[in-house]
């Protein structure tokens, strides 16, 4: 087995007695001693601090940068103002996913692409492959970059004393640059939990300083360090897609319910023709949210959805929901069965159990 990759905060996790796991080749904390339920609750009601330094950062710069990213992604990049962010994807010609990502507009001709850790090498190669036709440079800044996510309703109160940058004016999906605990950071009002919060990008070597400062400022306010375990339950409650689960290279953007990131009228981009065709002919399957009806029935990733004993779909993500107190999941089911209140069955270890389609997102914060 090859050596696991480590983020700049690896020693901090070990000092906090985190339970470390191999996450796509990275040595990452799945939970700290408080446990997934307590960490989940901290993020929903107070604050949690995540190390997401494993995520990939790719910088694209130059006169052709905008045109390259317009070509590679379905969302309307030209609509972004400087300091704004949007969610989008890299698609193959057939409309399926290379990856999903965030695009940060740093300048007229400069963009930061934030991609999944496990796909970073593939994504960087993908961008590089298409870049020569455009006048721009493409740099993989991932190894040099640390990323820390502060999430939860107390995030602003915890972070503001550590920076002179006024945080309140930063809108959701906007960012700015400023110092946090004396460290130059990109301060982004984004997250993967459904709560208010900030994602801080800094030089890898400075990440421990930022982490320690936020931990110290947040602990008296009930902040907990939070691992990948609760990151998954938090994002699932908000129906945020996870690559390898709701989206991958066999599922296209419209099936995944991500039509809102696909701007078919923006001009050509990779995957557009396939999605235009897909739009004309309704998809055979659709992603739905469901709950199982019995407490004992907890659906898990990849379990088959069955109808009259025959497989008709599959669960993409499933878990007990700490906030909702019921067992939730997302699944692809035939489109004609994808109606609110509709019932289907999931095969759990040889038993077909009942599930009901319910409204998503399962959880929405009060604003």
């Amino acid at each position: 087995m090859s050596e696991l990759m480590k983020t700049p905060l690896n020693a901090a996790h070990r000092a906090l007695n985190a339970k470390m796991v191999d996450f796509g080749g990275w040595d990452m904390p799945v939970q700290y001693p408080a446990g997934i339920l307590a960490e989940h609750e901290a993020v929903r009601t107070r604050a949690g601090l995540f190390d997401v330094s494993h995520m990939g950062e790719i910088r694209v710069k130059g006169p052709g940068a905008l045109a390259l990213i317009e070509h590679l992604t379905p969302n309307a990049v030209s609509q972004l103002v400087i300091g704004q962010i949007h969610y989008t994807a890299f698609l193959y010609e057939n409309g399926t996913f290379v990856d999903d990502l965030l695009v940060y507009r740093e300048g007229e001709e400069e963009f930061l692409l934030v991609v999944n850790a496990g796909n970073c090498d593939k994504d960087f190669a993908w961008v590089q492959t298409h870049a020569p036709a455009f006048d721009c440079t493409v740099v993989n800044e991932s190894p040099a970059t640390g990323q820390i996510a502060l999430q939860g309703p107390r995030s602003l109160a915890i972070l503001q004393p550590l920076t002179e940058t006024p945080l309140d004016p930063i809108g959701y999906y906007f960012f700015t640059h400023g110092q946090v605990a004396g460290v130059p950071c990109l301060i982004s009002r984004t997250g993967y939990t459904g709560e208010d919060g900030f994602e801080l990008y800094c030089a890898a070597a400075d990440a421990p300083k930022v982490w320690d400062a936020v931990m110290a400022a947040g602990t008296p306010q009930g902040l907990l360090p939070a691992g990948l375990g609760c990151r998954n339950t938090l994002r699932l409650e908000c129906k945020m897609a996870l690559y390898g689960h709701e989206i991958d290279d066999t599922i296209h953007a419209l099936e995944a319910g991500l039509g809102w990131i696909v701007k078919l009228d923006k001009g050509p981009f990779i995957g557009r023709d396939a999605l235009l065709a897909a739009k004309a002919a309704p998809a055979a399957r659709k992603l739905v949210g469901f709950k199982t009806l019995e407490k004992r029935d907890i659906a898990r990733d990849h379990m088959p959805v069955v109808k009259d004993g025959a497989p008709v779909g599959f669960v993409t993500s499933g878990a007990p929901s700490p906030t909702c107190g019921i067992n939730l999941g997302l699944a692809y089911v035939p489109t004609d069965q994808a109606v609110l209140g509709g019932r289907f069955q999931i095969e759990i270890r040889g038993r077909a159990v009942d599930a009901e389609i319910i409204r998503t997102p399962f959880y929405k914060r009060q604003k």
Partner: protein, 127 residues
């Protein structure tokens, strides 16, 4: 972490024989730690007869699910009803309040690990 009065399985269950032909079964500290927060324990009907190494239930945590296998053959005399409302007892007190089933033994306690052997197994698995 490895109480001396218990025998263990390679799958991280423990069994405490009472000396009157009955025994109590649960999962080890190492097992509960690996699972994380337990949210549901599915246990058998009282009266069920289950062979050594056969599945008697499942334990679900937030993150994953694991089968429970009976360390020694027997008939189920009782199940821990309190786990229905307090599954966290498995995490908090795996060798006590987190017990799972009580059985009347129908065979021996062959093939089980003593505390020293189990400690060595855990040490090997966690490194």
């Amino acid at each position: 972490m490895f109480p001396a009065d218990l025998l263990y399985t390679k799958d991280h269950e423990w069994i405490r024989a009472a000396g009157d032909g009955t025994a109590v079964v649960g999962i080890t500290h190492y097992a509960q730690e690996a699972l994380g927060d337990v949210v549901f324990v599915d246990l058998p009907e009282v009266g069920a007869t289950i062979g050594q190494g056969e599945e008697f239930g499942t334990v679900e945590s937030v993150k994953t699910v694991s089968e429970l296998n009976l360390p020694a053959a027997g008939e189920v005399l009782a199940v821990n009803e309190t786990l229905a409302d307090h599954p966290e007892a498995v995490n908090e007190d795996p060798y006590g309040a987190g017990w799972m089933v009580k059985v009347r033994l129908s065979g021996g306690l062959d093939g089980l690990l003593d505390p020293t052997a189990y400690a060595a197994l855990v040490s090997a698995e966690s490194h």
